[in-house]
């Protein structure tokens, strides 16, 4: 059973105890992650000059928006027990396609944007279908796509950024609504929508069911294959959106963007408390995860850390964040430390 994988310790051998009081109050989840984020926030506002300025915090929002949109969609994929590592390349592909459509073929911006989203969704859907029909793990299918889409992006643009000269367009990426950067606004909209879809619609419930136990889902009349394919369509579309936004920010279609985006997105989702084995996760958690990572990167630059040190620090802190936020009932740092010491002793 999937969850056995998720929590080896939580199989028949150790059934979850009837919810403790702590566990009960913790039905507003993410207490662990919240603590971590707040902690980070406090530390940075103490150590990093200019961190606590509206401008800077808005910056963080804007910079997080691109990967944020992807991470939100990734939540569906991971809750369904799948994974998608093609999103970075998909972003580059979308950006390149968009550039070519607008500049070389003179499509109107909205039309091109629509087309790109559509293409993204369809690509993802196809990947999903391959995964379903041939029963190949999604890791492999999307790994293939990862390489294919990057190649296509370079073919489209010959690896030369395609200038998209339109003042209005760059507003999509750099403008703001009542001071809030447009990409951030879009991310918030996306957050609201995906929260609603995942928690309030039959589709969302089905995603959980499929991730929780595909066989049970199948026997309950949920079309497991359809759901699985659809979630990849979702990440595809999201990557498309992120690609367009990124193009807007750079006012060009660029085949080099999005490298490593898949890892950032997945980290955010897992930090957000989702289980890589499906059946557990929430868009709110993911959003927190995205913010956490955004703050982290921003803070490290503000602290003038060398790019090498940044790599090291990021790794360590992400790991800590995951450990904290995936402890079953909330934070429980005590047990955590106790754990280390006990082991250390033995």
């Amino acid at each position: 059973m999937k969850t056995d994988l998720a929590e080896p310790a939580a199989t028949e051998l150790v059934r979850p105890a009837r919810p403790s009081l702590l566990a009960r109050i913790k039905h507003l989840d993410h207490i662990g992650l919240l603590t971590a984020t707040v902690l980070l926030f406090v530390v940075l506002s103490l150590c990093a000059p200019y961190f606590m300025t509206t401008k800077n915090l808005l910056n963080v929002l804007q910079q997080s928006a691109f990967v944020g949109v992807i991470a939100l969609a990734m939540t569906f994929v991971i809750v369904a027990g799948e994974i998608d590592i093609s999103v970075g390349s998909a972003m580059a592909f979308a950006s390149s396609l968009f550039g070519v459509l607008v500049t070389d073929h003179g499509w109107s911006l909205p039309l091109a944007a629509l087309a790109v989203l559509l293409v993204g969704a369809v690509t993802g859907l196809l990947a999903g279908l391959v995964r379903v029909w041939f029963d190949v793990p999604s890791f492999i299918v999307t790994l293939a796509l990862f390489s294919i889409l990057r190649g296509l992006a370079q073919m489209l643009t010959d690896a030369v950024p395609v200038q998209i000269s339109s003042a209005g367009f760059s507003q999509w990426g750099n403008g703001d609504v009542f001071g809030v950067p447009v990409p951030a606004v879009i991310m918030f909209l996306f957050l609201a929508v995906s929260w609603f879809v995942l928690t309030r619609t039959t589709f969302g419930r089905s995603v959980f069911a499929v991730g929780g136990n595909p066989d049970a889902a199948r026997l309950s009349g949920i079309s497991v294959g359809r759901i699985r394919a659809l979630v990849f369509g979702l990440t595809g579309a999201a990557a498309g959106l992120a690609g367009v936004l990124q193009s807007a920010q750079l006012s060009s279609g660029d085949s080099t963007i999005g490298v490593g985006a898949e890892f950032t997105a997945i980290s955010a989702v897992i930090i957000g408390g989702a289980s890589l084995f499906g059946g557990r996760g929430s868009v709110v958690g993911t959003f927190l995860g995205v913010i956490f990572l955004g703050l982290l990167n921003n803070g490290m630059v503000l602290l003038d850390l060398s790019s090498y040190a940044q790599g090291v620090a990021r790794g360590v802190i992400v790991l800590l964040a995951v450990v904290i936020s995936t402890r079953r009932e909330g934070v429980r740092l005590r047990t955590l430390l106790g754990f280390v010491f006990r082991r250390a002793r033995s």
Partner: protein
């Protein structure tokens, strides 16, 4: 194998990765062999030394007449090149090259943009700007590629050499040479250092990233000096009161063409040129829109 008749040479080319500048190189090469019977095999080594090694080995098995290599690592690329030379293949460098002793021994010619010169050209423009507009002192931020590519270090060296000592402090430096990574870095850098009033972008991606940020963050006080010219960069400089004031462009097309010609020449028996042949930097300034327009039009 220079016993061949002129015209039917096969030249294997390795490129660092896929970027506009590198496309300019290859474009120049392709144009140079137009009409001549020379065929080019062009492959990118994706900044991966082992992939480069395997590329060169493959060229060896394909019995190419010459290899035109843009080595990734001053030391790391040597063994593969040595294998090629031992297999009787003529090897020339372009853009970057291997460390000197090995180079003297193995390489039949090295053409590159004057990397330090690029930096110096940008530096001189910056120096002028500092004295005229900034009252003789600048607080400089660097968006670098030198943690990943040695030539970027040379550019930095050249840039600083052109600035009057004491006329500047480098207050921040971040590694970011791919535009989508460079932009947020520039943004955070500006936040962390409000006093910052000049950014040097060591390559195309960093220059663009910096320029875009200055615009989007409305930091009118800050201006960008960069290296490399692309249509995107030119376009940025043509905008009203541009953030990117000056860039030292490589004449990448010419470099590519000359590199191929030099290779063919060596194959035809003209003695190899031991010393580095530098292709001068081409200055592009926002004050001379016509040159920028010309650049763009050439590529329409």
């Amino acid at each position: 194998g220079s016993n061949k008749k002129d015209g039917d040479y096969v030249i294997g080319v390795t490129t660092l990765f896929s970027s506009p500048i590198i496309n300019e190189y290859t474009r120049g090469m392709q144009e140079a062999v137009q009409g001549t019977g020379v065929t080019l095999k062009i492959n990118t080594s994706d900044s991966d030394v082992s992939k480069e090694a395997s590329l060169i080995d493959t060229y060896i098995t394909q019995h190419v007449d010459a290899i035109l290599v843009d080595p990734i690592s001053a030391n790391g690329s040597v063994p593969a090149i040595r294998r090629a030379v031992n297999a009787g293949i003529t090897v020339l460098c372009y853009d970057t090259c291997i460390e000197d002793s090995a180079r003297q021994q193995l390489i039949k010619g090295y053409l590159t943009s004057d990397q330090e010169g690029l930096g110096r050209t940008a530096g001189e423009a910056a120096a002028k700007y500092i004295t005229e507009k900034l009252g003789g002192h600048a607080k400089i931020g660097i968006l670098s590629c030198d943690a990943s590519y040695a030539i970027c270090g040379q550019r930095q060296k050249g840039f600083e050499s052109a600035l009057a000592p004491g006329s500047y402090d480098i207050v921040a430096k971040q590694e970011g040479y791919v535009v989508d990574k460079a932009k947020p870095l520039a943004s955070d850098m500006l936040t962390a250092h409000p006093e910052l009033n000049l950014i040097f972008g060591q390559n195309e991606g960093s220059a663009i990233g910096a320029a875009l940020t200055v615009k989007s963050d409305q930091r009118a006080g800050v201006h960008v000096f960069g290296i490399d010219i692309t249509t995107v960069i030119a376009d940025l400089m043509l905008q009203p009161d541009p953030a990117l004031l000056f860039t030292a462009g490589q004449d990448a097309g010419k470099l590519g063409a000359d590199a191929v010609r030099a290779t063919v020449a060596v194959l035809n028996g003209t003695p190899p040129v031991k010393e580095t042949q530098l292709i001068a930097a081409v200055p592009y300034s926002a004050d001379h829109p016509e040159t920028l327009r010309a650049y763009i039009d050439e590529r329409k």
